[in-house]
């Protein structure tokens, strides 16, 4: 259970996050959306422990968030594959880093097994020994997703991971992400600026206001899966969220 309590973030004079509070249940898939540049990425990075909050904090199962103690993964918007490692090496990297951070000497064989399984799951098994520069942008993000899931994290944060991809790949990867999530049931917080995605993917969407960001509303999405973009209920929710976000 993740609790975000009264998190504020200030950069110099600029207040980006204003007392944002919410919680995410175990295994839940939640989306966060809002107007462009409202601090969604900042919020996510605070939740990852990459930047400190100016006020307030994040609790994981009642303990203050600690990247060392808690297993957190992050899928970045920009391509984040380590270019000097193969697909296999990249996915393994998060396991290795985790093991090093915890001072564990996890057996090589065990790590390799886990990597193979996740690669199989995301459908990249044949590309295990390719280098990032040899695969497409969509595949690179799949590698990042695999790398994020393989550590079986307490919290998986995804920051507009399909932002740099074309529309068809976005649809495809959205479905793939759901499939993997359904299989592995980790807690996922997914930031997007695509309202479609905000309805298609999660069980619940949180809408933020513009700067300084506050929680505007939290909208449950109770549609059965697989969801249909043309379903009138889908379109209703879309309209609802768009109205909340509309700053133009």
């Amino acid at each position: 259970m993740i609790q975000v309590e009264e998190v504020s973030k200030r950069f110099g004079d600029l207040l980006v996050l204003d007392r944002v509070s919410f919680s995410v249940g175990d295994g839940e898939f939640m989306c966060i959306c809002g107007p462009t540049g409202c601090g969604k990425t900042t919020l996510l990075k605070v939740m990852a422990g990459l930047i400190p909050a100016s006020m307030g904090g994040v609790l994981v199962d009642g303990q203050p968030l600690d990247p060392l103690r808690h297993d957190i993964s992050f899928v970045f918007q920009e391509p984040s594959c380590l270019p000097w490692k193969t697909v296999f090496g990249n996915v393994r990297f998060s396991l290795e880093t985790r093991a090093a951070a915890l001072g564990q000497s996890s057996s090589r064989g065990e790590m390799d097994e886990r990597v193979e399984r996740i690669l199989d799951l995301v459908g990249l098994k044949e590309f295990a020994h390719y280098y990032p520069h040899q695969i497409s942008a969509g595949m690179k993000q799949r590698v990042a997703i695999a790398r994020a899931f393989v550590t079986e994290p307490d919290l998986l944060l995804m920051d507009e991971p399909f932002g740099y991809l074309d529309v068809q790949t976005r649809y495809f990867l959205g479905k793939e992400t759901l499939r993997i999530w359904e299989k592995l049931r980790r807690t996922v917080v997914f930031v997007t600026h695509s309202i479609e995605e905000a309805v298609y993917l999660p069980e619940r969407t949180m809408v933020l206001t513009g700067l300084p960001a506050r929680v505007s509303a939290t909208i449950p999405v109770n549609l059965p899966r697989p969801r249909d973009y043309d379903d009138p209920r889908f379109m209703d929710l879309r309209r609802k969220i768009t109205d909340l976000i509309k700053w133009w």
Partner: protein, 259 residues
């Protein structure tokens, strides 16, 4: 693709032949004993290769000695330059505070040190020092300039999983900076190569390619000197090419390799 490479090779060869022809022509036209032509130089080279030099040292000995000096100085420069560069890159305050000493020293040409070096240091260490001077700074600067260019995203990927600073440096910074370090090493090797020749020319042991050139120049046998020059150039080229090949192999994961 292959056809293009053939074309390039033939073009390159033509330029080379043209240059040799122009050189030979110039030598014939000027007709001075002090401007050897291509044939004279080749003859001198053959004589050196087969019979060694006037003191009885074989060409191979000269090459081996010069290469040994280079390897030692260059090795030392890498050993000191890479860790120091990483340190300064990761801790910019170290760099900032040492700049007042490093920057002026960087611009003193290694050859300017030679008079002091002759007096203060002895024997093999002289060459070691001069080459080290030449090779050290390119390596240091490339390394420390490469560190800030490490992609923040790559660092964040590791940080999120709880990486310590040491882990970040070992597993993210170093692999990221390695191509730049190599480029710096290649430049350093080139500079070191040029320094060894100058250092050898200025006195000391009478073995070494630089010494060879000077020996024969003193005797006005400039065709031998030029043969020595050409050999030095070729060796430098070979070293550079070897380096590039090593870089290509090491950095297969890059889709472009800088030359």
């Amino acid at each position: 693709m292959k056809q293009r490479r053939w074309q390039d090779s033939i073009l390159g060869l033509t330029v080379l032949v043209g240059f040799l022809a122009a050189w030979q022509l110039a030598a014939v036209v000027v007709r001075s004993p002090f401007l050897p032509g291509v044939t004279d130089t080749l003859g001198a080279f053959a004589d050196l290769a087969l019979h060694g030099d006037l003191d009885g040292y074989s060409l191979l000995t000269h090459v081996a000695v010069s290469l040994t000096r280079i390897a030692a100085g260059f090795g030392l420069a890498c050993l000191l330059g890479i860790p120091l560069g990483l340190l300064m890159g990761v801790y910019p305050s170290v760099y900032r505070n040492s700049r007042t000493v490093i920057e002026p020293m960087r611009f003193i040409p290694p050859m300017a040190w030679i008079p002091i070096v002759i007096v203060v240091i002895a024997g093999f260490s002289r060459y070691l020092f001069i080459i080290w001077l030449g090779a050290f700074f390119p390596i240091l600067i490339s390394t420390l300039a490469g560190v800030p260019r490490v992609n923040q995203v790559h660092l964040d990927v590791a940080r999120v999983h709880g990486a310590t600073r040491g882990y970040l440096i070992r597993r993210v910074v170093v692999p990221s900076v390695l191509p730049e370090i190599f480029a710096g090493m290649r430049v350093g090797l080139g500079v070191g190569w040029m320094c060894i020749v100058a250092a050898e020319m200025l006195g000391g042991e009478n073995i070494g390619l630089g010494r060879l050139i000077l020996k024969y120049a003193e005797l006005f046998k400039l065709d031998y000197s030029v043969a020595g020059m050409v050999l030095i150039g070729l060796l430098g080229l070979l070293l550079n090419e070897a380096f590039i090949q090593a870089e290509k192999w090491f950095f297969r994961w890059r889709w472009e390799v800088t030359v």
